[in-house]
């Protein structure tokens, strides 16, 4: 009996080892060697290893908004124009960025004309033409495709091609954020159109997971779900070939720091601040790149007066809150001084934060005085201020992360020192961010102080939360104005700025919004939330962008020390 048990067990072990050999997603790449055959790579081969703590769910443009997919696109795809380390646009597939001066933008701002380069081609030598752009737009707005977002293509009335190198885009109304939001990856028409015609949808196209054809400096060689993705140099690249031969991306959710310390990778991404001291001590370089995101507090200030604590509707109470929190200490102690307190929502876009706002200081004495003057005094001696029988108790919620939980605890203590009691809620992200229709607590106005990381539609300055039409209700369950604030002046300015194609006019409008945020304290900035990278000693020439992170990956080089 024991023997038969042993036999069965050994068979199972053998079977699973055999199965493991056949397992894994191995697409049929064009002319590459299977890695299992290679022993140790020859010393001349240059390989960059990057660690992603999260795996991209799909590689197809339009189908994902994950940062990790966006970053990977620079390896094997190209945008019409990309952004450099200062987040300034530079032309990629187009000859120059359309502007009013070169006739790229019409007088009324609704028609944009792009001129494509004539040397751009896909890796199978098919040229990239205006047809690919038209196809991308059609796929984005098609109801048959489950794209993650149709924005901004759903604002476009028509895209046409007077000749193969020219693309003319006509918007229904002047649309200011076009530069930041259009053409994040082009779909190859010659490959995908037949699939769409045959199946009626692009959702199941193999190219989305296994892009055999691309137009970037590298091409996907292999993607093993859960482990890694490997890219090799594109021999048919239309521009200067890449310096390195291969890019390995490893997916490591928990132990990225250990892997970096052990020298298993050249670049780490999304580094948490708590890992920074160890990595710096081990000789890695920490690089931060602004991406428009700032962590901040938003207030439930219900204009109709029904939801939330009445204290928050008084601007003086909100001012007391911002004065009572020692934000510099949070940045200095929790983030090792790597971040600063952002004074403006447009902190990363200096053009729109001009003249730049200054931060409210840390002044708990002044905070207490303000609260007294507003009528909030502790009449029943329980340590919490009250007024007209209502205690100043605020619900403070955010999603689960160690950083945020620490911040909540510190802010709770700071506010308790001035007599405001805060109750902390720490919720899973997809519960915290659920919409009104899904019973999300923030959306339903159950949380007074909401914290999350956000910014304008970077690198554009567009915002939309504060529109009165975005207030959620039973009729509008997807509304994103979870602050229930209907400030008519703010609403009009926000609606106006997204139509102002003229940069000067827009700057004036946004400056007004900026000042309004400051005066009314609709938003408190806690810290800037840049992309944080850890660069190993072998990597050279790397630069990062806050929009197209690996924009110059063709220039990266590996130098063996």
């Amino acid at each position: 009996m024991r023997k038969s048990l042993l036999i069965v067990v050994s068979l199972l072990v053998a079977a699973s080892l055999v199965l493991s050999g056949c397992g894994g997603k191995t697409p049929a790449p064009t002319g590459t060697v299977q890695p299992a055959v290679t022993a140790v790579p020859s010393p001349a081969k240059k390989v960059v290893t990057i660690i992603f703590p999260q795996e991209f769910d799909t590689l197809g443009p339009l189908y994902t908004d994950m940062w990790f997919a966006w970053a990977t696109w620079q390896l094997y795809l190209a945008w019409a124009w990309e952004f450099d380390e200062n987040n300034e646009p530079f032309p990629k597939l187009v000859t120059e960025i359309p502007s009013a001066d070169n006739g790229g933008i019409s007088a009324d701002g609704t028609v944009i004309t792009m001129h494509l380069r004539d040397d751009i081609k896909w890796s199978d030598n098919v040229p990239i033409t205006a047809d690919d752009f038209i196809f991308t737009w059609q796929m984005a707005v098609s109801q048959q495709n489950t794209v993650s977002s149709a924005y901004p293509y759903d604002h476009i009335a028509d895209v046409s091609a007077p000749d193969p190198q020219t693309v003319v885009i006509t918007f229904a109304e002047p649309f200011a954020p076009w530069l930041a939001t259009l053409w994040h990856g082009i779909l190859p028409k010659h490959i995908l159109q037949p699939i769409y015609d045959a199946e009626g949808t692009l959702d199941n196209a193999d190219w989305l997971k296994n892009p055999t054809v691309g137009c970037g400096p590298f091409l996907l060689a292999e993607w093993q779900s859960g482990s890694f993705a490997r890219f090799e140099r594109n021999p048919n690249y239309w521009s200067t070939p890449a310096k390195i031969d291969e890019v390995f991306i490893r997916f490591v959710p928990e132990a990225q720091k250990e892997a970096l310390l052990a020298g298993d990778a050249d670049l780490g991404t999304y580094i948490p601040y708590s890992d920074v001291p160890d990595l710096e001590n081990a000789g890695l370089k920490i690089v931060t790149e602004p991406n428009g995101y700032n962590e901040g507090l938003f207030f439930l200030d219900d204009t109709s007066g029904k939801l939330g604590n009445p204290g928050l509707r008084d601007v003086n109470v909100r001012k007391a809150i911002v004065l009572a929190i020692d934000r510099d200490a949070i940045n200095r102690d929790l983030h090792y001084g790597l971040t600063k307190v952002p004074a403006s929502f447009w902190d990363a876009l200096p053009y729109y934060n001009d003249p730049p706002l200054t931060n409210y200081p840390y002044d708990p004495g002044q905070a207490k005085a303000l609260l007294d003057a507003a009528g909030w005094k502790d009449s029943n001696g329980d340590g919490t201020r009250d007024k007209d029988g209502v205690e100043l108790v605020l619900q403070y919620g955010t999603s689960i992360s160690k950083d945020r939980q620490d911040t909540q605890a510190v802010i709770q203590q700071d506010l308790a020192a001035v007599g405001i009691r805060v109750e902390i809620q720490s919720l899973d992200a997809d519960i915290f961010l659920a919409t009104y229709g899904e019973g999300g607590p923030a959306a339903k106005g159950q949380i007074d102080i909401m914290e999350w990381s956000d910014g304008p539609v970077f690198p554009d300055a567009d915002i939309y939360y504060w529109l009165c039409s975005e207030i959620p209700s039973a009729d509008n369950p997807q509304g994103s104005n979870w602050f229930y604030t209907c400030d008519q002046k703010l609403n009009d300015l926000v609606a106006l700025q997204s139509t102002q194609v003229d940069a000067n006019a827009r700057q004036k409008t946004i400056s007004q919004i900026n000042q309004l945020f400051y005066d009314q304290i609709y938003w408190i900035g806690l810290w800037q939330d840049p992309d944080v990278y850890a660069v190993g000693p072998r990597l050279q020439g790397e630069k990062f962008s806050g929009v197209t992170p690996f924009f110059n990956i063709a220039d990266w080089d590996i130098v063996n020390p």
């Binding site: 720091k257 948490p272 708590s274 890992d275 001291p277 160890d278 200490a329 949070i330 200095r332 102690d333 929790l334 689960i400 160690k402 939980q405 620490d406 909540q408 605890a409 510190v410 709770q412 203590q413 109750e423 902390i424 809620q425 720490s426 919720l427 899973d428 519960i431 915290f432 607590p441």
Partner: protein, 315 residues
């Protein structure tokens, strides 16, 4: 009549060596011999004193006081267990966290035992269709790995229960969630044991007698049969506390357990996840406490099992 004891003592001096022992006394004797179990009991008493008794010396405000300037300090005279990422004293936090961890363990077991006894007793006593239905449900739940069930339930209940304030202390709603889900995922084992006990006990004479005298079913179940099957229930409940404390630690490590502001030993280890090398005191002390608690409960349970085992090999 002459005094019977003397007569017996005179007539049969060899047969009456010791007075007959009750089950409890017999069990106690066997338990006493099990040295790890005694050690375990002592440790548990000490731990309970540590967690609940220390609140005489350390207030909750001490546990919650944040001081960014003294963050991540190693153990010293001022902070015997060091401080955490926002300057809270770890010793104080293990005291209050311990209260929560131990309470979670106990209350989860109460839920689990209550459910298990109910289901097992009804299935075992009534039999037939009720038994079939209840056992199908039990099997269904047993067929799903516990950790999966815990994760799914944690997400289901997450965020739905608001923070509670009992006796002036604030508890995160997730404490109730944890107790409920641990209870809901572990009752099946006890239910099967109780059912087996009931199946074998209900054919006994004393049950037939009770029925013959017209005792209502509920009384038969709870006052006649149940007390006789206390042994496996007790062992299962004891080991269940250890399992509950471990389950809480796992779920908190995965980020789905008790959330701030409430501290537990489990989520203190989760907090230390990024500081394993740089601040080992953050995970060492709560980890040690979990280990000691679970270990001593396991010893205790083992001792109880040996002591209450009717086959009694070692008396």
């Amino acid at each position: 009549m002459e005094s019977t004891p003397n007569k017996i003592a005179v007539l049969i001096p060899d047969e009456l060596e010791t007075p007959p022992l009750s089950l409890g006394q017999l069990a106690w004797r066997r338990f006493r011999r099990h040295k790890p179990a005694i050690l375990g009991s002592v440790i548990i008493v000490l731990l309970v004193l540590y967690a609940f008794g220390s609140s005489l010396f350390i207030s909750e405000a001490d546990a919650n006081r944040k001081d960014l300037s003294s963050r991540l300090l190693p153990p010293s005279a001022a902070h015997p267990f060091g401080t955490d990422t926002i300057g809270r004293d770890i010793l104080a936090r293990t005291v209050y966290g311990g209260q929560i961890s131990l309470l979670i363990g106990l209350t989860a077991v109460m839920v689990e035992t209550g459910l298990g006894i109910l289901v097992g007793a009804l299935a075992g006593y009534y039999g037939g269709a009720i038994d079939s239905l209840l056992m199908r449900i039990t099997e269904a739940m047993l067929n799903i790995p516990e950790i999966f069930l815990l994760i799914v339930m944690a997400k289901y209940f997450g965020g739905k229960i608001p923070n509670l304030t009992i006796l002036g202390r604030e508890y995160s709603g997730s404490v109730v969630v944890i107790v409920v889900i641990i209870g809901l995922t572990s009752w099946m084992y006890l239910a099967r044991i109780v059912r087996a006990e009931f199946l074998s006990l209900k054919e006994n004479d004393f049950v037939l007698a009770a029925r013959a005298t017209g005792t209502p079913n509920r009384e038969i179940i709870f006052r006649h049969i149940l007390p006789n099957s206390i042994a496996p229930i007790l062992v299962s409940a004891t080991l269940g506390v250890a399992n509950a404390i471990l389950s809480e630690a796992y779920i908190s490590f995965l980020g789905l357990g008790v959330q701030a502001p409430t501290a537990t030993w489990g989520n203190m280890i989760d907090d230390a996840n990024r500081y394993i090398e740089t601040a080992p005191w953050m995970w060492f002390f709560p980890g040690l406490l979990i280990l000691l608690t679970v270990l001593s409960i396991n010893f205790l349970g083992d001792g109880l099992r040996d002591a209450l085992d009717p086959r009694g090999r070692t008396v």
